[in-house]
């Protein structure tokens, strides 16, 4: 293999999408992945390609999310073209965020109104709305096979939302960038990144590699690596526990926030948000609570069997929005971190990767610079 143009640290959904985008742009890419039992948000992902409700107070994130959702079909076509077909169970028929009680419905309406106002203030030319509030009867019409529980009051419905099998997506990205000549090294834990003349030396327990550019996309392991290059990236772990049931015949034609039926027929139920540090144990407090929520949505779910229960760690910045930054001291070193790696996979491949390849993050990525946290910390 010739020396890589770029080394990507992390083969999760974020790293793999960037590596795919770089390879698609003609770069020679080396991706270094950690151990089998490392924390892996990509392995615990829920699989929503989701727009609604995201980015209050951060219209740039709303915009990025919408842009990525719209890039998804072309992104998949491209991936399929290179790989000779992909099977990722992608669907985009719209998504549902359920509401409970009158208060829940009113709160959701208020959030949606705020997001719409922020969107139009940010970009008056961003088009018509993609979301509407629907009442219980309309919701039951969308979900005819599922008798709704008594407390369900309605939903917001966004046509831009969809879902995908996140594990198949990850597998396809891995296969795709290798097909373009990229190299994936598994079970390789990076310990040091050292700037040198003309680039960086990346050292792991399995050897040292050199490249002109390096992208840190290692989830919650990113802050420690970024610090070696003088970058403070405040990404922390948030635990999410998810349940999966046995396979059943189709009952849920649309993905819902916290509930979706996969193409395999299983029902995925999620997810908790727990600030417990780097702990991926599971609790019955979580499975009990998630089961209650699900039976509240429809009592018909009560007879389903829980087959799997896992927990993963989201990588979250303080405002929950992505971080994209190039080191000022060491140009050529980039950090990319976010918790919506599936939704943003298309924009990472089609926009972020070319920006990294060009050596300059375009102004569209400015709002995601890590300096925003330092300003907050100083004020």
């Amino acid at each position: 293999m010739r020396e890589p143009d770029t080394i990507v640290i992390g083969a999760g959904t974020v790293g793999a999408a960037i590596a795919w985008g770089l390879a698609r742009g003609g770069q020679q890419v080396l991706v270094l992945d950690g151990g089998d039992t490392d924390f892996r948000a990509a392995r615990a992902n829920f699989g929503l390609v989701w727009v609604q409700g995201k980015g209050p107070g951060m219209p740039a994130y709303q915009r990025l999310t919408r842009q990525s959702a719209d890039l998804w079909p072309a992104f998949l076509r491209d991936l399929a073209e290179v790989s000779g077909g992909v099977q990722v169970d992608y669907e985009r028929r719209g998504g549902i965020a359920l509401t409970f009680g009158d208060t829940g419905h009113d709160q959701r309406r208020a959030l949606i109104a705020r997001l719409e106002a922020e969107r139009l203030a940010d970009d008056p030319a961003s088009g018509a709305t993609d979301i509407e509030m629907i009442d219980r009867r309309a919701l039951q019409g969308l979900l005819p096979d599922l008798p709704l529980g008594a407390t369900v009051s309605g939903a917001s419905f966004c046509w831009r939302d969809g879902h995908v099998n996140p594990l198949h997506l990850l597998a396809s990205l891995h296969a795709g960038f290798q097909r373009l000549g990229g190299d994936l090294r598994g079970n390789t834990r990076v310990s040091a990144i050292r700037p040198e003349a003309g680039g960086f030396a990346v050292t792991s327990d399995r050897g040292t590699w050199r490249a002109a550019r390096v992208v840190i996309a290692a989830g919650i392991a990113s802050p420690a690596l970024a610090r070696q290059l003088g970058l403070e990236v405040p990404i922390r772990a948030e635990r999410g526990q998810v349940l999966v049931t046995q396979r059943i015949a189709p009952v849920l034609p649309y993905p819902c926030s916290g509930l979706r039926q996969t193409a395999d027929g299983t029902i995925m139920i999620g997810a908790t948000k727990e600030n417990v540090g780097e702990d991926v144990s599971t609790s019955v407090r979580a499975s009990g609570w998630l089961a209650r929520k699900t039976v509240d949505i429809s009592p018909d779910f009560a007879r389903l069997q829980l087959v799997r229960h896992w927990s993963g760690l989201r990588s979250l910045s303080p405002d929950g929005c992505p971080v994209y930054v190039q080191s000022a001291d060491h140009p050529g070193a980039f950090v990319a971190g976010c918790h919506s790696g599936v939704t943003l996979a298309a924009v990472h491949a089609a926009r972020l990767a070319p920006a990294i390849a060009s050596g300059t993050l375009s102004p569209a990525f400015d709002p995601f610079h890590n300096r925003r946290f330092h300003v907050q910390a100083a004020s």
């Binding site: 096979d145 599922l146 059943i248 395999d264 027929g265 007879r303 389903l304 069997q305």
Partner: protein, 98 residues
């Protein structure tokens, strides 16, 4: 495939397999009964709908899953027959709504 040895001490227990009244033996598991009832299977899988019969009979293979008295995916090797029990051998994915 299997035949029961004559055992006068065991009473017959009437159960229903896919709606058909079937004599089981007192004290045997549902899986043991299913191995005597043609076509000697417990289910068709929800993945590719291939037929499966009980394989391990000790609770670790999950190939003897069937619906028992309305409860789905019961490990039938762990449950003894009861008079009037209704056993259904699933074909493919479970339907939760009528």
């Amino acid at each position: 495939m299997f035949k029961p040895l004559a055992d006068p001490a065991r009473r017959a227990v009437p159960v229903f397999v896919d709606g058909v009244e079937t004599p089981a033996q007192e004290g045997e598991t549902v899986a043991a009964l299913l191995l005597r009832v043609p076509p000697h299977i417990a289910r068709h899988t929800p993945v590719q709908e291939t037929p499966r019969a009980p394989y391990c009979l000790m609770g670790v293979c999950f190939d003897c899953l069937a619906t028992v008295d309305g409860e789905t995916s019961v490990q039938t090797c762990l449950v003894e027959v009861r008079p009037g029990m209704r056993i259904e051998r699933p074909r493919g994915k479970l339907r939760i709504t009528a």
